[in-house]
Symmetry: D3
Subunit: 301 residues, 6 copies
């Protein structure tokens, strides 16, 4: 106990949760991806775990999934809302960037900048910058550059709070159950609302990490999702238009079993890297910073 | 607070400080290096910081430094003791492996195994496995293989507690001041003594990390030594036979200033990587394991 | 048969199975590893598949496993024989190199050279050259250098056909069932026997590949073991002294289930890389050589 | 023949030449490059070899070469046709993307998508994604993303069969001699024509590989072009406007000799990597998949 | 002079300063960067050193810095002129590309092509192709592709000598003191002026190198700037609107000292890599070419 | 001339040819390799070029080649002498380390240390540290560690000037023609002789580089050997016992032609990397240090 108090008193500045000259942030973590159901596959367990730790989490889907072989954008919007509830996500929205044509243009960057300035996340999860689907790797660069631009004081992106005003309003999930209230719950929400009224204040996330599950690359770190694995699988299964049709065509259980087997094997593989059961993999570009050598996890030998 | 309590109650097994089926470990951290004054240069600040956090730290020098251009083994033994005190190290010893001829033989491995089984460290710091000095990179492989062997239950290495019985007995530094008693202080020391009486029980360190300051390689993480930088420099200066002769020959201040400038620049360079002032760099082979994304340090952007 | 004739008539020279100035080789493939049960874990499915294709396969264990926590060398010898039968291996032997002390000495290299000259494999599977266990990575270098030495015409290693004459004679598995006779069945066995009578003739394997399952590295290629996965798991379970004791201690089903889950996840992970179900990963140092672009497997996109 | 029947009966699913739900593909292999004469330099020998194996091959040049220092687009069109005949190519076309300004725009991607859906190649050869000429590396990304888009069922790119309707109609080379009829010769061509009549059906190539000869990178594999080397050199020499002017200026033989020496040395260098005489180098992103270890070519030692 | 004559007589062809069919180049070295003050931070010492060796150096800033948190474009233009004088730069200009929005468009490439054809540098220094600020890494690709395009004989970019005709005319620094006149001083300036009058002749720089100080990557080589370090720091301090405001806000000396400490540590770190005191790091893509092994600098051991 | 004076007056310390506290060095460059004829293949052209520049060059063969398939140690000694003359080498010697069994033992290291202290080279060329032949890569590590040990002041290796006293005395090539006398010709040879009389003084080479031609790795730099290519090929052909037998067996011209073709293609390949005709490739571990950007060779674009 005393040890922990000392830590709080003497911790170096880089451990403070937020710079003191920034308004409060309504989202602790924002995951950005190209398509609805990408986040569920690459970092859904982590998002749920963070929500269970008391953090406010959000998902920004760049497209509305209209190019998917099965279903349509409307179906996927409803399914995405269901999945968001399972993952205890506080906020979810889809931009109107065309599916199959995510491009790193100035206009698209500004669309993401507006979301970042409104939702003000401390941590942003992006797709990895290599991959099979061009939308995925382009979303990574687009997301990164938007994070950079969002912090430029002289960049004015207007006051409009509605990012995509069409048929995909931001989903606000009302009764998410979390293990404990967010540690930042006491921060004045009105500051942000003022910010909204007078224009979107600059904001730059403290941390950007990359979800690498779609790509065979060695992660910097993994997150233990053993407790969240089942819920995360349910979140993926919420995309019924994707998986039920498929089941209908090929016999319902084998297809679902095959999907589950693959997802489980991936999670186990990364879990084994970390000496645990199920995990999701991430890369960060920065070096790590360790405060106490005896607390570094993962057995060496 | 509640958050922290929850962590202790629910944390997954890999976060427990020690496997419950192992006897208590008298050292939390052991740094191994080829020559006296290597540890002072590569991870002295980190060792001091760990001691200040309440951990018991130790240093194992493989050789006695008899091939150094200046001074002799006796001088260096006295200086090493002085440096160990400055770094608040609880234990230091030099093996009798010939300086300039550190070889990864079975006999040398067993010498290190005996130390590991006696001192039972949770964390071992080794030199990086590449470098300019053959003793350094060979010490890295030798140290790693000894860590592996030390855990083999069927490997019997006898009961002798004195590693190198000659003129370099283990230094026991009596009155090291630490900020707080070790969190493991209450563990029964007699268990280890029994172990000694009945033979050295197997032991495998939980974590092996590599100090990379001697080599230009990107570290996995750095440790903030801003508060420890001055003491670490004093620990290096304790090797008077190395640095005073030099000063005498070339004018005392310039030489000392040049050394200090280089050491400071290295520490600052690695500090900048971590967004802090002074740091020491390390590599770990394992992937990381992150419990809470919002607590990852080092700003991304 | 017709298939093979066509190959001999039209294939370019580098595809000829064997240099014409070498005697026939009784083994098509030899897997070398440090410990009994290593081969079962890293390439057992591949060995079985090759036997089912009609090839003669063999296993050389460098040590007799006397340092294993559970069981003893005698138990393991019997278990290794059982596992070899399950994998349809034609030949298996253990050298007398001490467990935990595999060293790349001249003597050890010669022991392996003798085996290579007797068994004359076309393909040798070695452990990967990095790893957690020093015996594994040392076995890789030792095996490679023995392959090189085995081909030196002027290196005389005597005529003794018994490699380790003690209590581990070569296991000859009598009634292995294979899908078809080896395509090399017609080659004159007596040539080799003459070679044995007059000294061991030089031999250099055509191909050396590295089994990487113990290490997280991207493989050059994988081998589909979907059909062999169950038998390979049974081969591993044949090491009852390793796995039954463990089961006894911790409840029999969970432990076995956990082992199976891990092995299955690894196999699935590498299977997914190749677009199949279960696979084992390998690295080759050489570049590939492709005869027909339309026959390259594994979908790109 | 028997060989092929066995393959179809027993081969695992990933070895089937084509997904059964796709119409027949008129091209087996399509090589895409930025400029006329690029393909001749990087993979001309491989294209010829594939044609000699009975495959239908094609070349898509993105530009018409109007920025080349010597000659003009009209000359180069005629020369490209000559080169295509030498390489026994079944189809060749040049798009109207400006030379020196190959950009990865939506419009350019669609131009390539139309070609892919018309020609429906199983294998696509792209330039490597790094290089000296911006057109080369941009063509690589543009080609990859077009391959991805071409497979999206909901992407409609119209019915127009003429890609670039201007002065560069698709070259149809009438009397190409091939060693044997294409194994797919019996497939109903009318299926494709129907597809053309009702719109271009989605198509995704099974395999994408990258020709790396322009860049000093270690290839994944090489293709033996010893038998094709002379014809490939003639195909390059067909670009008389490029090489004759140069010869005129500097004395005809030295220049031609110098070009030949360089091309021969490159081919030999990659040949030596594969243990053969002349070769062309390629990279694939996927891991390999090996069915029989004893058939892996290229000697290890 | 004598030295130069000898070089022309005996040097191998690749050492010739310029292709003989190109007009004289008024700039020996041009550094291109996204923002005013970038060059000062990454390669200012090198530019000054080159000027002191007698070379004509220039700086092209792509933007006018209007997005900087402090100051405005006009202030920065004046400060950039001051810094250019301190670095003895012969020419400096800022394009009108928007700050924070450097994009690799055709238009932007042509803007840079015009500068390259006017200034005709032998060496171009670009930012490294990875980095934190999107403007930096995009400037790297934009600059590279412009260097390529500038050499295309058939690309006509007009005759206008004024690149950005607005409020940022090219700075011509009148009385730069250099240690000696440029070795190319005798070349006819009028040739270039003629070129201007009749259109901008094609030009391709002989050498492109990348300044890597903003990114933690191992350099190919470093340049010793021990003698230039102070002046380079003064050049950076010439940006008063950047650094004075900051000082005003936080107490003047600590801020300036902190900046100096960081810059000094970086310079020292790279200096240590080269065995010298202060250095700036660079990458070149090409392999090196060494004429005399005994003249290779930097001690190995 | 004037240029050179300026260099000596103003050049930074690291460019001085030799530390002032070291005795004169009789060899400028020493190439070390495992077998006679290795040096001829990997860096023979460079050695000849250095001799033609006026440097004293030497070759140390670790073994006497008794395991070669053809010829014997006596033949190879005579051939090595012939080759050394062709390469204008001043000194050549073979140690008595067994062929096929080059091991990095203390004894072998001391054998090399004695040579280094006698011959005192400024530059040492070692084989690359990876390769096909174990003798090659072991020679690399052995040579590096000997270079390190040779500089340890307290390491006494006796006064014996004859390294291998048996049937392979040092070859002293009397009448080597060099373009000019060595620039170090005026240094007092007697200093070295005194050193010999009183024991071998410590010596550490300034530069260690690695000849990489045997391994497919990208070099740090190449050396232009266009003028030396023919002589280097003759030096290799001096090993008649290697190449004549082969010719006898297979018809004399084709074999020789094939060898020449391979060697020429390798030399051309590396030449093309450097923009020249023939070259040999090398790696250095250190970063480069460039004095004048306008003198960096090898065109970028």
């Amino acid at each position: 106990m005393i040890h922990n108090v000392r830590r709080l008193l003497f911790a170096p500045p880089y451990l403070y949760p937020f710079p003191t000259d920034m308004p409060a942030s309504p989202l602790d973590i924002l995951a950005l991806a190209a398509h609805r159901d990408d986040v569920e596959q690459t970092c859904g367990g982590t998002l749920l775990k963070m929500a269970q730790l008391g953090h406010r989490t959000g998902i920004l889907d760049l497209t509305q999934g209209e190019m998917g072989t099965r279903g349509n954008a409307k179906d996927r919007a409803r399914e995405a809302e269901d999945a968001a509830k399972i993952l205890c996500t506080s906020w979810r929205q889809a931009l109107d960037i065309p599916d199959g044509r995510v491009e790193n243009t100035w206009e698209n960057r500004l669309k993401v900048v507006r979301v970042l300035r409104q939702q003000r996340p401390r941590v942003v999860i992006l797709p990895y910058w290599k991959g099979r689907h061009p939308d995925h790797y382009t979303a990574s660069v687009l997301g990164y550059e938007a994070c950079f631009l969002a912090g430029l004081a002289k960049l004015d992106v207007g006051v409009d709070l509605n990012v995509a005003a069409g048929d995909s309003p931001a989903i606000v999930i009302p009764n998410v159950e979390r293990a404990s209230p967010s540690p930042r719950a006491g921060r004045p929400q009105d500051i942000r609302q003022d910010a909204g009224a007078t224009g979107l204040l600059p904001h730059r996330p403290f941390k950007i990490i990359y979800a690498t599950l779609y790509y065979d690359v060695r992660p910097t770190f993994v997150v233990d999702i053993t407790e969240q694995f089942e819920a995360r699988f349910q979140a993926l299964m919420a995309y019924k238009s994707q998986f039920s049709d498929q089941e209908a065509g090929k016999g319902i259980f084998p297809a679902r079993d095959e999907i589950r087997s693959r997802i489980e094997s991936m999670a186990r593989f990364y879990g084994m890297l970390g000496g645990i059961t199920y995990a999701e993999p991430f890369i960060q570009k920065e070096v790590g910073l360790v405060e106490d050598l005896t607390l570094i996890p993962v057995k060496s030998i």
